[in-house]
């Protein structure tokens, strides 16, 4: 019985490593309600403002699992597809990609400093000061 419990605990640890959630966060005073399509348009530069007309400032993570999950689940593009997408816009003068920050804490700080900012972080880094507007589950093994 003890062996079975140990195996189950091990399995649960293993499973928790298979999946990681990311959360899309905004300033607590930002009342925007966004679905995945709205978030995608903001991060692809196709929409510049929240539905209430206020200009949005999306911020990306430079790299890491959260970014990969966000690219895959929300933007539905691989890293290279996204790079090619932005290269087309940059080299035609149509837009510039969102600013990139190094880690979750930097994104949280940015969101807390700026009511118009929108970013995403690993759910494990979530702090109560920010408002979560969407949550996505990512299969890290599927990278």
């Amino acid at each position: 019985m003890k062996q079975l419990i140990a195996i189950l605990i091990l399995l649960s640890c293993f499973c928790s490593r298979l999946y990681a959630d990311i959360v899309v966060i905004v300033h607590p005073k930002n009342t925007a309600i966004l679905d995945v399509f709205d978030i995608r348009q903001l991060f692809l530069g196709k929409a510049k403002s929240y539905p209430n007309g206020i200009k949005a400032i999306p911020v990306n993570l430079t790299s890491g699992h959260a970014r990969e999950i966000f690219n895959k689940q929300v933007l539905q593009k691989s890293n290279s597809q996204l790079k090619a997408y932005w290269a087309k816009l940059v080299f035609t003068g149509r837009g510039v990609p969102p600013a990139e920050l190094d880690n979750d804490q930097a994104v949280i700080n940015m969101v807390l400093r700026n009511q118009d900012a929108i970013g995403y972080i690993d759910q494990r880094s979530l702090t109560p000061e920010v408002r979560v507007i969407a949550e996505f589950e990512g299969d890290l093994n599927g990278r």
Partner: protein
């Protein structure tokens, strides 16, 4: 490589004057080598900037580019792009230099020298990383000399429910040399009053696009150094006794100067699961001149396989005299014959190519690419040809 212009570029964009402004520097580069394998009995098809010698070369398609953008605040920005082509001894050239004013979220105004979207991918034609081909199909992306123009353009975008519409409207002019494939020489030319409108409608996994350009062509060199000597030569060789008036009539009918050029394109891109489909059709002509209707198109199917993309595409370029309408107003057989001979010698080619390309995204900002192409040029002296290339495309 003439690097001093790039150094100057960096110095300017890192100068204290601009330190307070928001500056972004991006760039792209391609290093590609290849060769067209043609036997001694046939001529090289002489595709623009692509392996016109019989040897392997890394020069023809390689290029380096750097672009700086300074946000001058209050919705104003300035952009400069330098490009150094291997085919031009890597001499850096200012391709773009324009000021932009963001009118609102949907509209931006640009003034200066900018890319001329003759066809759908013309604006980023040189940025190899943006597409899965080793190079964009030559039957459509022919390396037009007037790919950068001076003028004003309005770029707009609209999010309509789940559709995204991107439009471009510009008025511009261009002055420079235009290369003629038949003679392999360039002639001083101008395009004035260039009106260009293009639109791209996008859904989740698809795009429909189209565009139209018209401009007034002016070049006395095309007439005096190329077309008229040909007419005089054919007239002399025919032994006919055409009057000066009749010869002038032919010249007026076939001359290039002061005529209107028209360019149009349409096509679609679809991504479904891991499949990619591309289609683009273009046609263009210098109206009321020696130039017969040019048509080009390609169809491509690709498949993503992890970090690899395999693409097959078929491309066609046709320039058909189509019954020689220029000869309709001619009275005598001699006039008609000389008209047809002149048109025939100036018409370019009928060409088909089948290409298999492989892209490997081995790095977040770089892709390795290779291709094998098999073509058939209907000019007797060229015939069928085979070639290959491989190289590296990066963006930063």
């Amino acid at each position: 490589m003439k690097v001093w212009k790039f150094v100057l570029f960096f110095l300017i964009f890192s100068s204290p004057i601009l330190r307070a402004a928001e500056i972004s520097v991006n760039g792209f580069a391609s290093v590609r080598g290849g060769q067209i394998l043609q036997d001694d009995a046939h001529q090289n098809p002489r595709l623009p900037d692509m392996y016109n010698d019989e040897y392997f070369t890394l020069t023809d398609e390689s290029l380096f580019a750097i672009q700086g953008r300074v946000d001058l605040q209050h919705k104003l920005s300035a952009t400069v792009q330098l490009v150094a082509h291997g085919s031009e001894n890597f001499e850096p050239e200012v391709k773009w230099a324009y000021l932009s004013y963001q009118l609102n979220d949907n509209h931006a105004l640009h003034v200066g020298r900018f890319a001329n979207p003759i066809f759908h991918q013309s604006e980023y034609e040189l940025v190899g990383y943006t597409h899965n081909f080793s190079r964009l199909p030559k039957s459509v992306y022919f390396g037009f000399d007037f790919s950068n123009v001076d003028g004003i353009k309005l770029q707009s975008n609209f999010l309509i429910e789940e559709l995204y519409l991107d439009t471009h409207l510009s008025y511009s002019s261009w002055q420079g040399d235009i290369f003629n494939v038949s003679t392999a020489q360039s002639y001083d030319s101008e395009l004035n009053d260039i009106f260009n409108f293009s639109a791209t409608l996008s859904g989740e996994n698809w795009q429909l696009f189209g565009g139209y350009l018209s401009g007034g062509f002016a070049s006395t060199e095309w007439d005096s150094q190329l077309i008229f000597p040909l007419i005089d030569g054919f007239n002399a060789a025919s032994g006919s006794s055409l009057s000066e008036q009749e010869v002038q009539l032919i010249k007026a009918q076939l001359g290039a100067d002061d005529n209107k050029g028209e360019y149009a394109y349409m096509g679609a891109n679809i991504e479904w699961a891991k499949w990619i489909f591309n289609l683009e059709y273009v046609e263009y002509q210098l109206k009321d001149s020696f130039d017969s209707l040019n048509r080009g198109w390609f169809t491509a199917v690709g498949r993503r396989l992890g970090d690899f993309v395999v693409t097959y595409h078929h491309e066609v370029y046709l320039q058909s005299a189509n019954g020689y309408p220029q000869a309709n107003s001619m009275q005598s057989d001699a006039e008609k014959l000389i008209t047809k001979q002149t048109i025939d010698i100036l018409n370019q080619r009928e060409m088909y190519m089948d290409v298999v390309s492989l892209r490997y995204d081995f790095h977040p900002s770089a892709a390795l690419k290779a291709d094998i192409f098999v073509g058939n040029d209907k000019r007797e002296q060229v015939g069928s040809f085979v070639g290959y290339s491989f190289g590296l495309d990066i963006v930063f």
